[in-house]
């Protein structure tokens, strides 16, 4: 009888060794709390719920403590585990281009085609990326790591994951979480900068509604856009190619079903997998390091500089534009590629100054230019450093 109880007791002890309670560390608890915070922000505040819910849950999932040497094949970094297989899309960088396919199919480039000078605003806002690169170097990161971190300034999650998976794979979890967190915080970060850098008079500037764009122009845009940008920055081809391809599916008028698939089921599936696995990659041992704090610091600085660059560049352009053709600098913030949230902020701020001023369509121009710009910037960094 004694042997029996010993046997049961030993098994229970063994079982205990396998449980999360026995293997939990402070790091695990902190990360689970961070995951819960993300989910709370997404549900309560409505901040990027489509991203923060999968990422938040992924953080919890990736930080469930277990006996690592038990050979259970359940960890994200364990070869052959389910999470590891799903993670390959992040690791090898094929989720982000598929997300870009969906973004291309969802995005209306008409405001940019109608007012192509907005391309320059999209380009100017990319200065945030390169300023962040300088800051990251000053903080002691290697050039390739600094580039992976700096791309956060593009306010483009898929691009950040794509570039960091190539240049700084060990920092990718922190970079992705940082990029998406700040994207969710775009309204909080951008508004004070926009107000600070513009005068009341500037905020009241009215802009003409973008002209009507023909179907032919819409079809030409993705083809010419791809040819031109990919010839200049071939290393950005996976992102640019998919972005413009998705857009062509949408505007061609004959591939409606494919466009629907790209902007519906496909992007939803990839968003789920991407969010979940990126979240799960933030295991406490990898994430809770001084580097993460530095990345968070560089990330927010990048966002601030990108926003300021866009707004200031519009003010600079206004110096050369005739009266009546001036651009409201409030749309400068939209040069970062957080589509369409950044454009919505431009519109909201414009309405606060003048409730009858509608800036949304004008702001969409620099906003979609920002998507192209950040993909180009990622391609350039990749070309220089890989």
């Amino acid at each position: 009888m004694n042997d029996f109880f010993n046997f049961i007791g030993n098994n229970l002890v063994d079982f205990w060794q396998y449980t999360g309670f026995a293997n939990a560390t402070v790091g695990h608890i902190v990360m689970i709390a961070v995951g819960c915070l993300f989910i709370t922000l997404a549900i309560k505040k409505g901040w990027e719920p489509l991203l923060l819910v999968p990422i938040g849950f992924g953080i919890i999932l990736g930080n469930i403590p277990f006996k690592a040497d038990a050979g259970l094949e359940i960890g994200l970094y364990e070869e052959g585990s389910v999470l590891n297989i799903l993670y390959q899309g992040v690791k090898t960088g094929w989720y982000p281009p598929l997300i870009f396919l969906g973004i291309g199919a969802m995005t209306d480039f008409a405001p940019l085609i109608a007012n192509p000078k907005m391309m320059l605003v999209g380009a100017a806002a990319q200065f945030g990326i390169f300023a962040a690169y300088i800051i990251a170097l000053l903080l002691g990161f290697e050039p390739d790591q600094a580039a992976g971190i700096a791309i956060i300034g593009g306010a483009d999650g898929p691009t950040a994951i794509f570039l960091s998976s190539k240049l700084a794979p060990n920092l990718m979890g922190a970079i992705a979480v940082c990029a998406y967190s700040y994207m969710a915080l775009v309204p909080v970060i951008q508004r004070p900068i926009m107000r600070l850098l513009t005068t009341k008079k500037e905020r009241l500037i009215r802009m003409e509604a973008p002209r009507q764009v023909s179907q032919t122009e819409k079809i030409i845009f993705p083809i010419v856009g791809l040819l031109l940008t990919a010839f200049i920055v071939p290393s950005g081809l996976p992102l640019l190619g998919m972005l413009f391809f998705g857009n062509l599916l949408n505007v061609s008028g004959v591939t409606g079903r494919l466009a629907e698939a790209a902007k519906g089921p496909l992007i939803n599936c990839i968003t789920i997998l991407l969010g979940l696995t990126v979240g799960a990659s933030t295991q406490a041992s990898e994430f809770l390091t001084p580097s993460t704090l530095k990345i968070l610091l560089v990330g927010i600085t990048a966002f601030v500089i990108a926003t300021a660059s866009g707004v200031l560049f519009v003010k600079f352009m206004n110096l050369f534009l005739p009266k009546g053709k001036k651009i409201n600098p409030l749309i400068g913030n939209a040069g970062v590629s957080a589509v369409p949230m950044a454009a919505r902020i431009s519109h909201d701020e414009g309405q606060k100054a003048d409730p009858t001023n509608y800036l949304l369509m004008n702001a969409m121009g620099p906003n979609v230019a920002g998507v192209i710009g950040s993909a180009c910037a990622a391609g350039v960094l990749l070309g220089f450093l890989i």
């Binding site: 192509p116 391309m119 050039p143 002209r211 010419v224 200049i232 192209i372 350039v380």
Partner: protein, 303 residues
């Protein structure tokens, strides 16, 4: 007819591209004739060796291709069977003949083909010129050939750059069997940037210039395209309306929507606010025409 030509052309281009990713991309890369100190085979023997390089990024398969040193195969009068007799055929049926993109494959020219796939039925002659050719599986398409000059012991005849570079003699210490011919030593790109551009200013200026240039060119192009299309649209709008027959259906009341328009607007608002969606053609029209809706209303009216 046009469609047929276009389809044929596309199929042709697709198949051509497919062929280009196959054995056609196999190139001689390095050859060593007198082996006294270089690599040994799986039997521990030293013999002359021939290295291929797959110049494509896609994988290729060397199975059934032919290797030869017999210049007689250049005679175009020879039939394929006659030609094949003069060559060593790389056996099929083994996964070992598969070469990944940008990878190498090594053959020992030892006249001992029974020792395995990578042992040819010919050898290379010391201290004299050797000609080696690689033929496709049909035995007639020459994929690559090279004339190896007389070499010293353990010297190789190698391309300066894998698959494409100029040929040159490589000293015994620098031969690279089954490996890349370029052994890069020195600092990489990242290290160079760290040393030369520690503050990142150079990178910033270069990258911003590239991004700005790309988007500025796009702006310039679409400014031109926009002007062309804007003028087309405005000229279409300004064109006087043709004096056609009077409209078949006059509006119900001046300045007001007729019943059909009102119904369409109400339906659109109902769908928008009620989040009601169904599968439609994506075309909302107020023009008359036959539709299932009209058929339904007519049926109800008739009843």
């Amino acid at each position: 007819m046009k469609k047929t030509i276009l389809t044929t052309l596309m199929v042709f281009l697709a198949t051509t591209a497919g062929f280009a990713q196959g054995a056609k991309n196999l190139k001689f890369n390095e050859i060593l004739v007198t082996n006294t100190a270089s690599i040994v085979d799986e039997y521990g023997c030293r013999s002359a060796w021939i290295e291929f390089h797959n110049d494509a990024f896609a994988s290729a398969n060397a199975r059934n291709c032919f290797l030869t040193t017999n210049r007689a195969v250049l005679n175009k009068e020879l039939s394929a069977p006659e030609r094949i007799k003069m060559m060593y055929q790389i056996p099929s049926g083994s996964v070992d003949t598969h070469i990944e993109g940008k990878q190498k494959m090594l053959f020992f020219a030892d006249e001992l083909p029974k020792r395995g796939i990578f042992h040819t039925n010919f050898t290379l002659k010391d201290s004299t010129e050797n000609w080696i050719a690689l033929y496709d599986a049909n035995g007639t398409t020459l994929l690559d050939s090279v004339t190896v000059p007389a070499l010293g012991e353990n010297q190789s005849w190698a391309r300066a750059k894998d698959g494409v570079g100029e040929w040159r003699i490589v000293t015994a210490d620098n031969v690279t069997p089954a490996a890349t011919n370029i052994v890069e030593q020195g600092e990489g790109k990242v290290a160079k940037f760290k040393r030369m551009d520690s503050l990142g200013l150079g990178m910033t200026v270069m990258c911003m210039a590239v991004v700005f240039s790309a988007l500025a060119i796009l702006w310039w192009l679409f400014a031109i395209i926009g002007k062309i299309f804007a003028s087309t649209i405005s000229s279409t709008k300004k064109a006087p309306a043709p004096k056609a027959a009077p409209a078949p259906e006059a509006p119900a009341t001046k300045g007001d929507a007729n019943d059909e328009e009102m119904a369409a607007i109400c339906m659109a608002l109902h769908e928008h606010f009620g989040n009601v969606h169904d599968e439609e053609s994506d075309i909302l029209t107020i023009n008359g025409g036959e539709s299932s809706w009209r058929m339904l209303t007519r049926t109800h009216a008739n009843n």
